[in-house]
Symmetry: C2
């Protein structure tokens, strides 16, 4: 950086954080800026109660913190907690054209502040969001249906870490471009000298379309990557998960104003269930970048039609997350780990395993050889045991998020029969001790033959998994590659004691374009990824065209404009 | 890099070159690996004759160096030099499906060699191409119509520098991903330790579609960026400019075989004039990346239809390259510089200026105030003087490349009348002393009023430029921004002695998304960019969706697949 590099108080106060995060990113080592424990010892003695009170204070009224956005005058809001209560929050309906214009007007000052200042200001945004993690946890819980601790962690610090990751990935990429250089070409006589100034310019106004299940975690990478590269953002939350992003946008707007920038750098486009704002904004000529998390149907539409209209589109959709079981030297650890992965948030994570391939020849374990049927039975027992206590189970399972998921889990025997499979373990309805209206379901297991591709080659979002019998592990790996190449996957896992099998699985995963977790038996789970170290998604299979957060996720969001002159 | 990082003799022999190029890239300082002077003192006493002999040896026969490609059995080839002679080279017609399969089979070994080895092997390819620069110059001259020295420079060393640039931009981006790390998360008791291996995987087979005017310079960035990131390449040259890329592909295949890799990493899909191979390959399911240089029509089709089909598409099309004239303290230098820019290769560069905005209030110069009309007249005189001597002029003008260009230059009074403008300077037919059949044309100047947008808001490829009278420089800048945002531009230039005007022009260029050259009066020209320092294109306006070579040009060409396990 030259001596005249622009700075800002928020850059000065967060320089150490940015440096630490940058180092972690380069090394892909363990790093977490935001503590994942909701303990009062970490977040302050009164943080839990304060958070709950703050949450309750926004319910059943207009969300005034966004009253200064351009609005049509109408109010929207139809959120109902998967745990039962109606939220009753109403949001000002965004005037989309005015919002795009306001966002465009916010560009020059934000662009000219430079990458370092943007990173500093955005880190302040994340720090402020972090301070409200307990309040955010309630907002995430009562929109997504996640259990409380998961809502805190995934909706709070883990999402905040991903936000900081996006900021530093973008910063690193922009740092590669010097602000100004003297270029000196040897020539006869004096060399030719030119000054070249490089200016990073944003692509334009960005749209981030949020999802119902991870309103913050899945939206933050796109929001912060676009902002960090100079693009204003319009956030279009899922109609049933507005509140977490409304809080986020309100916090960010306050920071922008305090930092001397235009609040219009971020705006919220809330809508009622069934609205068309996502589609309308996606085709709005002022929108240049789109980040999307959600179902494959609209995701594919964005990848084709919106991309066709010249937008840069990043999607995370869904796929067939796969586990290959070959052998293990820790049966108990493996079953416990898988039971957790299936149960966490009732399989409603885009990373939750769905398809478990088991060879017909059975599975060698430290507790002896198991037939494929016995293995399936033991996996079912592990899930049953894991969720045996209702009061504890609901703190893992959370609540089913919508009627689609509920419908799938309600009649497992009918589903199995329709798919041509057998019920290994039925789903069990769990009564939530605090929220009797919540629909809570334990995972079901259905066994099918590998030849019955129809049964398991579509995503079955929610608490249903398949044990798929293959001839042998070689067929399991072949199916892994083929199904993921065709249908996509966010995650893959393998259990084997055979180094050759592990190596073959790495090859299969590389060919399929999916990240692989090997022999997880402890407290790391296939459905969880760590910011700064693990990529979420790969962009190499149909489940997602992007990864959180690699260079490809940020590099297209800005351009470099050179001006050169003789000196 | 870990101690076990794979290496290769070609990596060892080119490590210093890669280091020097990487440093230049980071600093964006002057760097050229390949000398631009065709002098025998640089390339060897017999290089000119050897190159000419080598060129003549391939004419009028089958191009055997590619005989080992998968072929349909048919031969294609219809190249005729813009200087007159029929080349008579025939090429084996590629069996497209077999070629895609062969390319796919070449992926694993190339992928697993790693980024550093790929960079080493590819640098060897460029070094070998460099050694044949004289031969390449003849091939480029007799396909593009460029004059000889330009063919040598732009088709040889300058293209080779851009190739090396693409290699190191890709290398730098891949180096950000460590091969393997130990990740250690603090926990109660022992920390959780995992080994995480990161594997860079290519997107798939890439297609590079070449153009007629710069067969190597415009194709090398895509070819080498794709190869450097692990993707095999099928090169589809323009039917009238096959030979330079046939030589390139043959050289690369030899190097790949010698280096222990599959020759199918690069293949040539030559076709006769009027063929549909580009379109067929673009929609082939095996093709994952497309690089294109050429007309806006097919470019737009690729950006929409091929992108719609899931391909990653990089285009360089065309636009309205713009010069804003406000004032100057070196009229003579300015006119000479502009005369050269218009004349070089008869305006057939995608970077050649087309639209010159001049205020109706006239231009202050070191030779006094000039009215807008007087300025146009002086510019015409400078062009006339610059091209006064036929024998010297042809060495700058080259030959017109096709009938489309020729048609436009043949009857300038008719064109001016059709567009509602006035002829300032007619185009002059120049007889080439060595090639009487070449159609050589000096640039024409047509003056129009700024209100007559129809006249100058379409690309007029070839030796025609417009002097456009605006009310004042403010209008000139407004027109610059508006026309470039709507129609695109590869270059922009400004002449002004007023720092405020220069600053306003920088703003206008940033808003328009086009690189700016200020007050060029010497031996640097708006239509030329230097590898490692200047970006060619910006990706920020409709002329091109990519730039040679920024991070966005390479980051999407590869993906990272993680495998992780406890240690």
């Amino acid at each position: 950086m030259s001596e005249t590099a622009p700075t800002h108080p928020f850059l000065e106060s967060h320089r150490e954080t940015l440096d630490a995060a940058t180092t972690a990113l380069r090394e892909r080592s363990y790093y977490s800026r935001y503590p994942e424990s909701p303990s009062p010892r970490v977040y302050g003695e009164t943080a839990p109660q304060d958070g709950q009170a703050a949450h309750e204070a926004v319910l059943n009224k207009a969300f005034d913190a966004l009253a200064d956005q351009p609005t049509t005058g109408a109010a929207v809001g139809s959120e109902v907690s998967p745990y039962g209560p109606t939220l009753g929050v109403t949001y000002p309906q965004l005037d989309v054209d005015a919002a795009v214009e306001a966002a465009q007007a916010a560009i020059p000052a934000w662009r000219d502040a430079g990458a370092e200042v943007r990173a500093g200001v955005l880190t302040e945004v994340v720090e402020r969001i972090n301070k409200r993690s307990h309040e955010m946890a309630h907002a995430v819980m009562h929109t997504s249906g996640q259990p409380f601790v998961m809502s805190f962690q995934a909706g709070g610090p883990h999402a905040q870490d991903r936000a900081l990751e996006a900021i530093v990935v973008a910063l690193e990429e922009q740092r590669r471009i010097p602000a100004s250089v003297t270029w000196e070409k040897p020539a006869k006589g004096d060399p030719i000298r030119m000054q070249k100034d490089y200016r990073i310019v944003p692509r334009g106004v960005a749209l981030v379309i949020g999802c119902n299940t991870f309103p913050t975690w899945n939206a933050y990478p796109g929001i912060f990557a676009s902002l960090a590269t100079g693009n204003p953002v319009i956030v279009k939350p899922h109609p049933r998960a507005v509140l977490p992003l409304a809080l986020t946008v309100a916090i960010a707007r306050d920071v922008f104003a305090e930092a001397g920038f235009d609040k219009a750098l971020i705006q919220l486009a809330a809508e009622d269930d069934g609205g068309t704002v996502a589609r309308d904004l996606a085709l709005h000529p002022g929108i240049k970048i789109i980040d999307y998390t959600g179902g494959p149907g609209f995701g594919h539409w964005l990848e084709t039609e919106a991309a066709n209209a010249g937008k840069l589109v990043y999607t995370e959709k869904a796929g067939l997350n796969t586990v290959v079981v070959d052998s293990t030297d820790d049966l108990r650890g493996m079953l416990g780990n898988l039971a957790f992965s299936f149960s966490l948030y009732s399989g409603q994570m885009c990373t939750a395993p769905q398809n478990v391939y088991v060879p017909a020849t059975g599975v060698d374990t430290d507790q002896g050889h198991l037939s494929a049927e016995d293995f399936a039975g033991k996996l079912g027992e592990a899930i049953t045991k894991f969720n045996a206590d209702d009061a504890r189970a609901v703190e893992i399972l959370g609540a089913t998020v919508n009627d689609d998921v509920r419908g799938r889990a309600t009649d497992i025997p009918a589903l199995a029969s329709q798919l041509g499979g057998d019920v290994v373990l039925d789903s069990r309805a769990v009564t939530h001790p605090s929220y009797p209206d919540a629909v809570v379901r334990t995972p079901a297991l259905i066994s099918v033959d590998a030849g019955n591709g129809r049964a398991y080659t579509q995503e079955c979002f929610g608490p249903v998994a398949f044990v798929i019998q293959t001839q042998d592990t070689a067929e399991s790996l072949r199916r892994l590659t083929e199904t993921v190449q065709e249908h996509g996957a966010m995650t893959a896992a393998v259990y084997s004691t055979d180094e050759e099998v592990l190596e073959a699985t790495r090859e299969a995963a590389a060919d399929a374009g999916v990240a692989l977790s090997e022999n997880l038996t402890g407290q790391i789970f296939v459905n969880q990824t760590a910011a700064f170290s693990d990529f979420h998604g790969t962009g190499a299979n149909p489940a997602a065209n992007a990864a959180y957060a690699d260079a490809a996720f940020v590099a297209g969001r800005f351009r470099v404009i050179t001006s050169r002159r003789h000196v």
